[in-house]
Amino acid sequence: MGKRTVIPFGPQHPVLPEPIHLDLVLEDEIVVEAIPRIGYIHRGLEKLVEKKDFQQYTYVAERICGICSFMHGMGYCMTIESIMEVKIPERAEFLRTIWAELSRMHSHLLWMGLLADAFGFESLFMQSWRLREQILDIFEETTGGRVIFSVCDIGGVRRDINSETLNKIVGVLDGLEKEFKEMTEVFINDTSVKARTKGVGVLSKQAASDLGAVGPMARASGVEMDMRTQGYSAYGQLKFEPIIEIAGDSYARTSVRIREIFQSIDLIKQCVTLIPEGDIKIKVSGNPNGEYFTRIEQPRGEVIYYGKANGTKFLDRLRVRTPTFANVPALLETLKGCALADVPILILTIDPCISCTER
């Protein structure tokens, strides 16, 4: 047994987009234990339900995270709608699904760029973000914002997409699919990329299940868990299968996310063909009274929204269990036994969103 050393990693580190601190206990170059510490960007957003009324809070909920902002807004709205027993128009459900899948694509493309940056492939990083830009343009054209959309509201959505724009989106996605296929080759087949990801940070199916991993992290280890199969929003009417890999290493996690981008393109195309005409919003009156749990699938995994209302316009309690929070124990498990140089890649493969985790 070599001498043990503790290396502090973060909260400021070139590979980390957001601050998290890890104390890495090393034996020579090998990590034997990692002790996390969070709390650098806690903003008290859950407490804010006492100050902002339930309609204003939609905009706060969107700001929990910059990347999955739409899905946070959607999760919050679904919770309030379920408490108030409101059935939103079907067109709104489809529009929400389209924006949710676009969010998933833009999140995964951003993550792939960050991964490429982490193993030093700058060119690939730029290419990923170039493709992501097309999705941001679609967002700006349809919702008005590039990252924060303010388009999801209690009772439906606030902006419609006309059929001409929907066809245009499909056209853009066709072009993007072709370009992305070329880039996929690099992530899947390139020798240097494979050398950094294949066999690194293996998480077994049993460990993923025991530690409560969610999203691509769990699916890459063979756990078949995708909240979209529950059929919320328009997912019940779409045909898709959860994407599963069994290897459980960083390469499998990359592969799951790549395949999910293609799956999202397919889902959006299905939505465009199935979307019905009609209203996009119904008027919601009164205050919520009751409590509800909502589970939806974000790009990073399953998010749980719990809301408790008391009949006034302010909620009693809102609790958000975000996917990164659930994935941190799994991350610590994968870090055990890896080399110090692989730590940045492993932290990135859970797609950490510390803003979500701390709220």
């Binding site: 204003q56 706060v60 060119s123 170039r130 919702t143 008005g144 303010s150 902006r159 690099v186």
Partner: protein
């Protein structure tokens, strides 16, 4: 050759030229729906204060007695909520961003009906 998988993309990039907009020379067009700054037709405003109550950030202040409507541009999050709830539809969202500023200044508009008003007529 898996080691050369990026080559095709790289050669394409050499021929293609920049994908980005050459900013100071050419500016990116905003879309019709792009969220920008809130404007007001002050002559139509009845100073009911609904926008002030609904604003999630408290950026808008309405003073009925002085007949003024003001907005802190740096607090506004461009959510468009005020324009949707306005009963007179006198608020409108522009598709241009607020220009950067050094200070937090409130943009204040006074009703045209105020007798000594010299500005927003």
């Amino acid at each position: 050759m898996s080691i050369l998988s990026m080559t095709k993309t790289l050669f394409k990039n050499l021929i293609h030229g920049p994908y980005t907009v050459l900013y100071p020379i050419k500016k990116k067009d905003s879309y019709e729906n792009t969220r920008g700054k809130i404007g007001i037709t002050i002559a139509d405003c009845i100073f009911c204060g609904i926008c002030e109550r609904r604003c999630p950030t408290g950026a808008i202040k309405v003073e009925k007695l002085r007949s003024t409507w003001s907005i802190d541009r740096l607090q506004c999050i461009q959510c468009n909520y005020c324009t949707e709830v306005c009963p007179k539809k006198c608020l409108k969202m522009d598709n241009q961003y607020t220009s950067p500023s050094f200070d937090k200044v409130r943009d204040e508009y006074t009703s045209a009906r105020v007798s000594n008003n010299t500005t927003n007529n």
